[in-house]
Point group: C2
Chain length 491, copies 2
Amino acid sequence: MLNFRPVLLVTGALVAALGVMMLIPMFADLIATAEVHRADWSAFAIGASASVLIGGGAAAASWGRIETISLREGFLLTSASWLAIVVFSAIPLAIGEMELSYTDAFFEAMSGITTTGSTVVSGLDDAPPGFLLWRSMLQWFGGVGVIIMAFAVLPALKIGGMQIFKNEAWDTSEKFIANAAQYSLGLSGIYVFFTIACFIALWGFGMPAFDALNHALTAISTGGFSTKDASVGAFLTVGRAPLDLVITVFMVIGSLPFGIFLIVIMRGAWKRLFTDSQIRFFALTILVLTLAVMVDVIEAFGHLGLFTAFRMAIFNVVSILTGTGYATTDYDDWGPFAIAFFFCIMFVGGCAGSTSCGMKIFRFQVALAALVLYARRLAHPNGVFVARYNGHPLTNEVFVSVLSFFFVYFAIFATLAVFLSGLGLDTLTAISSAGTAVANVGPGLGDIVGPAGNFATLPDAAKWAMAAGMLLGRLEFFTVLVLFSPAFWRG
Amino acid sequence: MLNFRPVLLVTGALVAALGVMMLIPMFADLIATAEVHRADWSAFAIGASASVLIGGGAAAASWGRIETISLREGFLLTSASWLAIVVFSAIPLAIGEMELSYTDAFFEAMSGITTTGSTVVSGLDDAPPGFLLWRSMLQWFGGVGVIIMAFAVLPALKIGGMQIFKNEAWDTSEKFIANAAQYSLGLSGIYVFFTIACFIALWGFGMPAFDALNHALTAISTGGFSTKDASVGAFLTVGRAPLDLVITVFMVIGSLPFGIFLIVIMRGAWKRLFTDSQIRFFALTILVLTLAVMVDVIEAFGHLGLFTAFRMAIFNVVSILTGTGYATTDYDDWGPFAIAFFFCIMFVGGCAGSTSCGMKIFRFQVALAALVLYARRLAHPNGVFVARYNGHPLTNEVFVSVLSFFFVYFAIFATLAVFLSGLGLDTLTAISSAGTAVANVGPGLGDIVGPAGNFATLPDAAKWAMAAGMLLGRLEFFTVLVLFSPAFWRG
Ligand SMILES: [K+]
Ligand SMILES: [K+]
C-alpha cells in the first residue's frame, strides 16, 4: 500500500522552508537603492506567507513519525516535492513588480529550480534586486537538491545506472559517515564553501558585490541565470580581470562529483580527484572540445590571438557542456559548425553527483564499455571478458539501465520537439528549445531563443511543455515517468 | 587466424555476377528510342568487362572449397562485399553519358545499393534508359541483399538484438527448409513475385512500362529512386488512377518481414501475418501517424477533401517511415510540424527482415518492453517479471544489444551532422542529410536537399561522408564498426 502521509509531510515542510527563504529577497528589495524597486518586497511577503501557511499546514496535518519510506513513496515524494516547490516559488515572481503571467512565472521558477536557466524576462538590468536574487537562489537550491538526490535517492531507485554509485563512499566498509542526514550536511557544507569562494573571487576581481553574489549562486549550481540581459558578457570590458575564466573554474567545480570532494576532505584522499575515472574522462572531454572550438574560432575570426581564442573556446565549451548556459558572445554567429557542435555537446553534461545536467559523463563511459565488451566477445566468442568502471564490474543490469536512459532521453526530446513544432515554432527554435529544456542548459539556438534572445515570445503551451521537459530532465526521466505506469499504482 | 581466402572468393564472385548484370542496362541503352542515348551502352560494356575480369580474377585466384566461415570472417565478408559492389557498380555511372564525377557516381551507387535513394542527378527525365534502369536495379539488388543478410548473417552476428530472430523459421524443429541456400532462394522468389506484381499493377493502372518497371524495382526495395525529377508526383495527373496508393501498398509489403511470408507460403499459416507482433505494431504505427498527418494537412490546407488528405498523408507517411523516400509533394511547405514530424519518423523504419531501413519496429518494441519491465520491477521489487517478444522471453543480453544499437545510431548520426556542418552546410541541411544517410531514406529537408532538391551541390567531402553513413546504416553499424576495434584483429 502506498502511504501518502510521509509524502505530504516532507513536501509540506519543504514548501514551508521555501517560504522562510523568501524573506531574504524580501529584505533585498526593502534595502534596494532604487526607490521604485522597494515596493516589490510585498510580493515576497505574500509568497512567504502563502508558502509557510499552506506548506506548514500540510505538514502539521500529516505530522507524525516516519518509520520507513518505500521505493514507491520515494518516487512519489521526489516528483511531488520538486513540483510543489516550483508552484510556490513562482508566486512572488508572478505578483511582483515584473508583472509576469503565472505561466511565465512558473516557467521561470521551473527553469530556476531545475538549474536550466532559460528565461522569459528581458530587462534584467533594471529588475528589482529581490527578483534577481530569488531567481539565483532558486538555482542554488536546485543545485544542492540535485547533489543530495544523486546520493540519497537516485542510486536506491536505480535510475539510469546510478546504482553503480550506491557503494561509492556512502556504504563503504569504513562507514565514515554514519547516516544520510550527516552525509547530506557534509555535501551541503562543501557546496556552501565553493559558493563563498566563487563570490570572493568574483568580487575580488572587480565584479560588483550583488552581481558577484548572484553569479556565485548560479555558477556553482551550473544554473546560468544572470543579472544582465547580456549575461556574463556584460562584465567583460577591456582592462578588467578575466572574470570569464574565474566563472569557468567554478562551473567545472559544480560539474564534478561532490561525493568525491567529501571523500577527499574526510579521508584526505586527494589522489581521488585525479584517479576517479569520471573526472579524468570529463577533463579529457573539456580539453578535446576546447581545442576543436579554438581551431574553429581561429579559422572564423582570423585575427584572434591564441589566448583570446582559448578564453572564448573554454568558456563557451564549459558553459554549454556543463549545462550552465552563460553566454559571453552569441555563438549563433560563429557559423554552422559551432551551432551543430554546441547543440550536440549540450546533451553531454558533467559528472554524476554534481549539479550539472545532461546525460552525464559516466553514462557515456558505461555505454562505451558496453560497445567494447561487445566487440571483444564477438572476436573471441570463447573468451571471458568483464567490463569495469572505477574498478567495479559492470553487470548487464547496469548496461540496460544506462542504455535505456539514452533511449528515453532521445524519445522525450524528439516528442517535445515535434510538439513544439506543432505549436508553430520554426524547426531550429523547436528542436533547440526541446533540447535545452530536457538537458537543463538554458539558451536555445537561432534568433528567437538563442543566446541573444529569450523565451518570452513563445506560446503559453510551449512554455508549459518546456517546463515539463525541464522537470523530466532534472529528475532523470524515470523518477517521473514511472508514476505514469499502471504497475506503479497497482497493489 | 583470419582466413582472407573465402572473403576474397565470395566478394570476387559477387563482383563478377554484378558485371554480368550490367548487360541488362547495356541492352536497354542499345534499344533506346532516342538516338542520343544509345551511345551510353559502351559505359556498361566497359563496366561489365572490368567487373567480370577483376571480380572473376579475384575469385579464380582464391578458388577452392570453403569449409567454414568464422564469425570474424563473416563480418569482414559482409563489409567487403557491399563495398566492392559499390565501387564497381559506380563505373558505368561515371563513364556514361551523364558524365558524373567518380565521387558523384560512387555516391549514387552507394545510395542505390543501400536503398537510400538520395541522388546527385537532376535531369532524370532526359537520362538514358540504361542509366535509369541501372540505378533501379542497384536498389533492387540491395533490397534482396538486405533480406538475405537479415536472416543468414545478422542473427548469427548478434547485431543489435537480431539474435531474437535466430530461431524464427530458420532453425525451427520442423526444419522445413534444409539449408541456407534453399532458404535464400525462397526469400528471393517471394521478392521477385512481389516485384512482378507491382510492375503489373502500375502498368495496368496506366504507368508507362519502363517507368512501371523502374518503380516496381525501387518500391519493393523501399529504395525510392525514380525516373523523374518530380518523383512519383510526376505520375499523379488528374483523371489518372491513384498510382500513389498502389505504390503505398508495395512499399508496405517491402517493409514487412519476408521470413513471415516464407512461413505463410510453406506452411499455409496465413494467420501469422495478423498475429506477428512486429507486423501488428507496424500497422498500428502507420495508422496513428497517418491520422496525425491527416489532421495536420486538413488544418494547413482547409479546402482538402477527406480522401485527398488521406492519400497525401498515407503516401508520405509510408514513404518516409519505411525509408523509401518517394515524394508526391514537397512537405517542406507543409509547415514546421510536418518538417519535425517527418524528420523523426524517418528514423523508425519498417520491420526487421524486410528491405526497409531505419531503426526497425522490433527494436522499439524491445526498448518499450525493457522500460515496462523496469517500471514493474521497481513497483514490486519482490515480484518476478519476464518480458516476452512474439512469445519468446527477452534476456538482458538482447536488451543490451538493442539499446546499444540506439546509442550507436544517435552517436553516428550526431557525428555525421557535426562533420557536415563543419564543411559549411547550414544546420537544417547538415542535420537532415546526416539523418537521411544513416536511416537510408533519401530526401533531406530544406531548399537544398529537400524533396524538391538534390545532393549535387554538396562538397565532395560531404558526399563521401554521407556514403559512409549510408553503408553504416544499411549494415546496421556494428557489422562495420567492429572492424575498427583492435580486438577484432587480435589473435
Ligand atoms: K543551466
Ligand atoms: K530509401
